[in-house]
């Protein structure tokens, strides 16, 4: 391609504090309309905001996780605009002096290298209410209903710095979004469920001639509702903008909307129509001063980050980079691994079994790892039994399903279901006898040097013993018999 792509994001993530940012109303999702409201979050005259300290803590946590410097002094500002979902006629946000500034997060770059994407700022602000229109939009509707349950829920806004390693491709953009979401989930400040509106993105994109120092005008695409749509919209914008540039035309600085059906972006408003928010410091809130101890305490107690966990899993437990990546996508899964690992004789096998069997089972049954009763120590025992050959893979899978359902240990399940491996030589030899007489041609093959054919006999015994034969012992017995014959 002849153009460099520069992509930036403004991400809004809803914090999962117990109460709203400036009042004591509960933070809920899906509650009956207007049941978690008070004078403040409905903008009643005379009501005043009181800052929720927990939300400050959560924002600082995010800032530290994203390598930001935390401002000792920060300010809340009013962003003034009219809309029926905004009860006060202004949103309390941060403008000058946000809580966190100048950070970065590391993503996988397109060149395969670690790529530190610059974060310009992370600030705290309140969410607006929710409108339900009787028709498509507010202007075409006969009426619109307002639900203020969401009004005042704390949000953090994470803004990338387009001068410090912006994303260079749709793939990097996608990696960035996933990394941000992963971090916010790891540090337990937001559930980031897109469908619940807990994770919202505005993306901006500009193109410049390869090697050119000057940036082109940016187009911002607002209110993207899925990662897939973001990728599609960006693909479209790259095509649209490069076509314009090739034709020697100028790209307008404007805000565009993505049409999910037509898979195109359409202009929403030009730079000239951009609203003047008349920001000024909110006189109802005093300047926020953060004590060093407050920040240090958060630093000390900030939960482990995805990259830290990934390093631990590859370095301490010697799991491959690829498997470690799959394990750490979800913190609970990664934690499950690290809790199993000390009890396990083979961590690579442990990782594979979590990825191939446990996660697959959970996914097929729409379960989460938090919801299953299985104990890490028991899961490690199962892997150890498999490693020792005391349980075959096949039996192992049956036992795992039962463990997921009942939370019992593999030993108890094996006992109760009579899945105990057949160890007794006499008993095993009976199966071996049958296999030898059923497949004399295989015996001959082995004798003539095709040792691999032994697996046919093992397979036969496994079938007839319903997978219970101790595989290692069985192999020994078969080899012994071959030698004798």
């Amino acid at each position: 391609m002849d153009y460099d792509v520069i992509i930036g994001f403004e991400i809004h993530a809803e914090l999962k504090t117990a109460t709203k940012l400036f009042c004591d109303c509960e933070v809920t999702y899906g509650a009956p309309q207007n049941t978690h409201i008070c004078p403040l979050c409905t903008g009643q005259p005379g009501s005043l905001p009181v800052l929720n300290k927990k939300a400050v803590e959560f924002c600082v946590r995010a800032g530290l996780a994203m390598n930001c410097s935390i401002n000792k002094y920060s300010l809340f500002a009013r962003k003034n605009y009219f809309y029926p979902d905004l009860p006060k006629g202004y949103q309390i946000s941060q403008y000058e002096l946000p809580l966190c500034e100048n950070g970065y997060i590391i993503i996988n770059g397109d060149d395969g290298e670690a790529y530190p994407v610059g974060i310009k700022r992370i600030h705290l602000e309140e969410d607006a209410g929710k409108l339900v229109h009787s028709s498509q939009s507010i202007s075409s509707s006969e009426y619109s209903l307002a639900d203020y349950n969401r009004s005042g829920i704390p949000l953090i806004e994470i803004v990338t710095d387009h001068t410090t390693n912006p994303m260079r491709s749709v793939k990097e953009a996608r990696n960035y979004l996933e990394k941000i979401r992963q971090i916010l989930r790891y540090i337990e400040v937001s559930d980031c469920t897109i469908e619940k509106g807990q994770f919202r993105c505005d993306v901006n994109i500009s193109l410049k001639k390869k090697g050119s120092p000057s940036y082109g005008n940016r187009a911002e695409i607002k209110n993207m509702t899925s990662f897939k749509f973001i990728s599609e919209a960006l693909e479209y914008e790259i095509k649209r903008q490069s076509k314009l540039l090739k034709e020697g035309k100028k790209i307008e600085q404007e805000t565009r909307l993505y049409n999910e059906e037509k898979k195109i972006t359409l202009p929403m408003r030009s730079k000239e129509d951009a609203p003047d928010y008349r920001y000024f410091p909110d006189p109802d809130l005093i300047e926020l001063e953060l004590e060093k101890e407050f920040i240090n305490e958060i630093r000390k107690t900030n939960p482990v980050l995805p990259d830290e966990l990934l390093n631990l899993i590859t370095e301490k437990y010697k799991v491959s980079q690829e498997d470690a990546y799959l394990l750490t996508r979800n913190k609970a899964v990664a934690n499950f691994f690290t809790e199993c690992a000390p009890h396990s004789d083979d961590n690579k096998k442990l990782a594979r079994w979590i990825i191939n069997n446990l996660l697959k089972h959970l996914e097929e049954n729409s379960l989460t790892i938090e919801s299953v009763k299985i104990k890490p120590k028991d899961f490690a025992s199962l892997i150890n039994l498999i490693v020792k050959g005391e349980v075959t893979d096949r039996v192992g899978k049956t036992v795992l399903e039962e463990m997921i359902a009942s939370g019992k240990s593999p030993e108890v399940i094996i006992d109760a279901k009579g899945l105990k491996p057949i160890e007794d030589t006499k008993e095993l030899n009976k199966f071996v006898d049958d296999a030898f007489s059923a497949h004399p041609e295989v015996v001959e093959q082995i004798q003539s040097g095709e040792t691999k054919a032994i697996n046919v006999l093992i397979g036969q015994v496994m079938r007839s013993s319903k997978g219970k034969a101790n595989a290692n012992k069985l192999r020994e017995l078969i080899l012994e018999r071959i030698e004798k014959e």
């Binding site: 903008g43 005043l48 003034n80 109802d284």
Partner: protein, 481 residues
């Protein structure tokens, strides 16, 4: 002399000695309202039933010899921009038509908890924007000394009610002088404590960084009594000062010994009515003769106070008043409303008064991109200079005495067409709001039938000094009469 003309302190004594009942006090005040208020229009809403019910409760407690707070059984009128649960709160504006707050302001709740009788909601310039109580959707309030004249504003209803005996005490709000100025025009005592002393929770915001609740009484002691009730730390107001509840009334003493009074030369220059100047200088002399020292102080940035005030106040107001949009409460335009934007435009054009619209426009302009630095930011810098002037002055003196207004009460309608002239009425009062300092306004004589007030300014959170000075003056002044 009717019961409603007695001081709160006196009524409290009579109540406790069971000489009179709270119900009789309430009855006396309501009778006065019945007689006078058609003419003077101090009240927007009367809460006579509530007051009588509260009086009954007080009487019951007295009969059971229960402990009572000093305000129990004392009528208090509430400026109608202070929220009262279940009672219409209009801010003197059509835009709040039909609005009944779901909660009470902390100040009013304190009064209720202390057993005060809530008499009604008093008239004001819409949202506190004005200096004459003419900018009210409910018609102007009349000066108690001459009904053709204004009572001052914006808390003109509260000041008039107290002056006429339509209440014994009242509370108001003071953003640029709105308690002190009508107190001077009506010949009562009005005091705005330090910013942060009284919770703003439930006070409909005009300019949040300047708004402060204040109290009215017919003497200094009564004013101290009402302040003792409404001053309190409130976790619902982030700008509330975390201080113990004051005991202004019990600690009043008429002590002038070693008191250093500052007299700012900048406040006695051109533009002030010489008759007012003479009265105030006489008051200062009386204090000096009785033990106080008088020093000249310099407040060089005084001349910028009015412009600074109007930049900051209108900027904050333009944002504070955005919530009055017809969506959730109050007035909503119905005719010729074609879409959301016209609903907003018509609601606000029809609902707000002229002065309110003027200030919203001014404030929106002040905060606009490209003008913010030149106006709002610069005003904040000048505000810091004004604050610094006062701080430096207070290194040398304990309090500062100034006029309250440059003129005597003016005729209703006289200044309506000239907003700038009206804005200048606040010239001596706005500096305190900009600096957040306490100030008391009290009477120092009459010119014809019109009272003249003077202002005593104190250090931050040192209300005691100015109350004591006012108390001492009040005693000397009445002895002199």
């Amino acid at each position: 002399m009717e019961l409603c003309d007695h001081s709160a302190a006196e009524l409290g004594r009579k109540l406790r000695s069971k000489e009179i009942s709270a119900k009789e006090i309430a009855g006396s005040v309501l009778k006065r309202i019945e007689e006078k208020d058609k003419q003077y229009n101090a009240f927007i809403t009367l809460t006579d039933e509530l007051a009588l019910k509260q009086a009954e409760e007080v009487d019951k407690k007295i009969s059971q010899n229960e402990n009572l707070s000093p305000l129990a059984g004392i009528p208090v009128a509430i400026k109608d921009n202070i929220c009262t649960k279940g009672i219409a709160t209009t801010c003197g504006s059509k835009i709040l038509e039909g609005y009944i707050p779901p909660y009470s302001s902390t100040a009013v709740q304190n009064l209720i908890d202390d057993g005060a009788l809530i008499i009604g909601k008093t008239n004001l310039d819409q949202f506190g924007m004005g200096s004459s109580t003419e900018n009210s959707h409910f018609g102007p309030t009349k000066n108690p000394h001459n009904p053709e004249y204004v009572p001052g504003g914006s808390s003109g209803g509260s000041a008039t009610a107290v002056a006429l005996g339509e209440s014994v005490l009242a509370i108001g709000t003071d953003t640029g002088g709105s308690v002190r100025m009508p107190a001077a025009f009506c010949g009562v005592v009005g005091m705005k404590p330090t910013y942060g002393r009284i919770s703003r929770y439930g006070v409909v915001a005009y300019a949040s960084s300047l708004d402060q609740v204040g109290g009215f009484g017919r003497n200094v002691g009564d004013t101290a009594l009402v302040l003792d009730s409404i001053c309190s730390y409130d976790k619902n107001d982030s700008t509330s000062a975390n201080l113990p509840k004051p005991n202004f009334y019990p600690s009043l003493k008429p002590d002038l010994k070693n008191l250093k009074i500052g007299l700012p030369k900048e406040y006695f220059v051109e533009g002030i009515d010489t008759r007012i100047k003479e009265k105030i200088l006489a008051a200062v002399k009386l204090l000096e003769e009785n033990g106080a020292e008088v020093h000249e102080v310099f407040l060089p940035h005084t001349k910028y106070a009015i412009s600074t005030y109007y930049l900051i106040a209108t900027a904050e107001a333009s944002s504070n008043l955005a919530r009055f949009d017809g969506v959730r409460f109050g007035y909503r335009a119905k005719e010729d409303v074609t879409d959301l934007t016209t609903m907003y435009e018509k609601t606000r054009s029809e609902g707000f008064g002229k002065e309110v619209i003027r200030r919203i426009m001014l404030g929106s302009y002040v905060l606009s991109a490209g003008y913010y630095d030149a106006y709002y930011l610069k005003a904040q810098k000048v505000r810091a200079l004004i604050q610094h002037d006062l701080e430096s002055a207070f290194e040398k003196v304990d309090c500062i005495i100034t006029p309250v207004t440059p003129t005597l009460p003016f005729k209703i309608g006289e200044k309506n067409e000239d907003p700038l002239q009206m804005y200048l009425e606040d010239i001596f009062t706005v500096s305190l709001n900009l600096a957040g300092l306490p100030g008391i306004s009290l009477n120092c004589g009459y010119v014809n039938e019109f009272p003249v007030g003077f202002q005593i300014i104190g250090k931050a959170f040192d209300e005691t000094t100015i109350l004591n000075t006012a108390y001492a003056y009040e005693q000397l002044h009445s002895n002199n009469k």
